[in-house]
Amino acid sequence: MTELILQALYSGLLQGGSYALIALGLALVFGTMKVINLAHGELVLLAAYIAYSVESGLGWSPLLAIPLAMLVVCSTSVMVYLAVSRIQKDREINSLILTYGLGVMLTNLILLVWKADVHSTSSSWMQDAFVLGPFFSMNSEILFFGVSVLLMGGLWWWLARSWYGRAVRAVSSNRDAAKLMGINPRSTELVSFVVAGILATFAGVALFSYGVISPSYGGVLTIKAFVITVLAGIGSIPGVLVGALLLGVAEALTVTLASSALQDLVGMGLFLLVLFVMPNGLFGAKRRRG
């Protein structure tokens, strides 16, 4: 039993790392613009499908698909931004509905281009076992956990040290004051969407490498990302990692100890629990709830 639980914890942590990659882009845009990009999951999925095309068409490792995927996904992300920035009133609600519509469009585009088959990497290396003592995992899982941590570190550094990064933080905490300081909020928001696109690209390639993709998966990803963003609390990057790890471990433990049918339930339950008990998330800044 202990072995089972330990392995579950390990698997859960690795899975959480990948979840964090998926959630980061959504969390960043949410923090900057207070906009929930419901098409984010589709952006991740788009990157995954490009990785598939590169692997099956050229025979390359999915990692080499990253530059092309980044180009496509970031352009799409920018288009989402342009649409969202056009909204005049009731931005919170209207952006929800707008990005929802964009998500539907993207899902159907993916279906039209790549058809409905399921896909995943056929690379041997990605699927080979990586054994660490009593712990088992796939190479791809370890790899992308590492990538996730690195990217998160990079993002955190960028937000703290670079000019654009600090501008993003300034705009998210007080838009008008930031304007006064000479920051152009619109270009900052654009930057945050581009960065979200970069994060989505890595998340998508990771997804293709360790999991199975199909056109309808975009919505599932968006929901996971949102659950983690709420768990984390707005404006907290390390919170996203912790929230994602928490979700991954909770899911793995539920599957191991109880029934796998409850895996989804755990995510939803955790989500609601945090909303009731700690609406600011684990690490969020204090905000009015009412």
Binding site: L96, G101, M105, I223, V227, A261, D264, M268
Partner: protein, 317 residues
């Protein structure tokens, strides 16, 4: 007076003309009934949004709970279908009671928390095998009965029932809006703090609206169960019952009374009859595009464009 005449004419056309013209064309009638089901959900969604001020992404929860409750009650307890449908609505109300703690949350949090509930109910329906039949679902759900010599289970009968349902719901919506509850709710939107100061219990009002919206949606879900005669968790709680009503309501204008229903009929029929014929496998893309276009160009919906074009001004809901 002119408005009332218009309404009466529209109702007459709907009740009498439609079955007369299309009654024998089962295909068109199927489309219309399905569109009205969406319209009913859209109406309940818009009510929650307008009067309750809460946007929900999880109305499929009420739809599914209403459907299952009605199906189970009519099959396991043998109750007559109309009564089962009412109980279906009440079942959805009970479900909404579980959601009351979520009322305190703001905008997007509430919207997605309701979605979480929808997922949870779907999983419940899949796992609670002895009652709900699990993933297999429930088949051979009884149809609407014969009353006064007319078979309401027929296509036209079903049509009249759902039409009446939607009309009654719209009427109820109208009454609530005009009542002093409606006034209080509108004031609440302007400033929740101010209304609280005056003594309006905003949380209670919001809860009431959630309950009403749930009841309406549950009724429509129950009808659908007895119309399709088959139910399973993925269908009852499908995201279709979330997306299409929202598209319909936005398209038709969610601030108005008739907007959601007209939007539903327009969107559904145009999608199935026109887009599907032109693009058999990509037409859902057009729906997404429609939604995007609507939000960007006319967030108040199609009807407001129509009204602006005819030069009439209508007081905001």
């Amino acid at each position: 007076m002119k408005r009332n005449t218009q309404v009466l004419l529209a109702l007459l056309a709907s009740y009498a003309l439609v079955p007369l013209l299309f009654g024998s064309n089962h295909y068109i009638m199927s489309m219309v009934v399905a569109a009205l089901v969406i319209g009913g959900v859209a109406l309940s969604w818009a009510l929650l949004g307008n009067l309750g001020g809460m946007v929900s992404f999880g109305h499929s929860a009420f739809f599914g709970v209403g459907a299952y409750t009605s199906a189970i009650v009519s099959m396991k307890l043998g109750l007559p279908v109309p009564l089962s449908m009412l109980l279906g609505g009440l079942g959805a109300v009970v479900a909404s009671a579980a959601m009351l703690p979520v009322l305190r949350l703001r905008g997007p949090y509430f919207a997605l928390a309701i979605l979480a509930y929808a997922h949870i109910f779907r999983i419940l329906a899949t796992e609670w095998k002895p009652v709900t039949g699990g993933a297999a679902g429930i088949s051979n759900i009884p149809r609407l009965p014969e009353l006064l010599g007319f078979d309401f289970g027929s296509k036209t009968g079903n049509y009249w029932v759902i039409l009446s349902l939607v009309v009654v719901l719209a009427f109820a919506y109208q009454r609530i809006r005009k009542s002093h509850y409606g006034l209080a709710l509108r004031a609440m939107h302007e400033s929740e703090d101010a209304t609280r100061v005056v003594g309006v219990n905003s949380t209670l009002l919001k809860a009431l609206m959630l309950v009403v919206s749930a009841f309406m949606c549950g009724l429509v879900g129950a009808f659908n169960a007895h119309y399709i005669n088959f139910l399973e968790p993925d269908y009852a709680f499908s995201s279709v019952w979330v997306t299409l009503p929202i598209v319909a309501a936005i398209f038709g204008g969610y601030r108005t009374l008739t907007g959601p229903v007209i939007g539903a009929v327009a969107v559904y029929l145009v999608d199935q009859l026109v887009f599907k014929a032109i693009m058999p496998s990509g037409h859902q893309l057009v729906l997404g595009l429609l939604l995007v276009a609507m939000v960007l160009l006319s967030p108040d919906g199609l009807l407001s464009i129509a009204r602006n074009m005819t030069g009439r001004r209508h007081a905001a809901a």
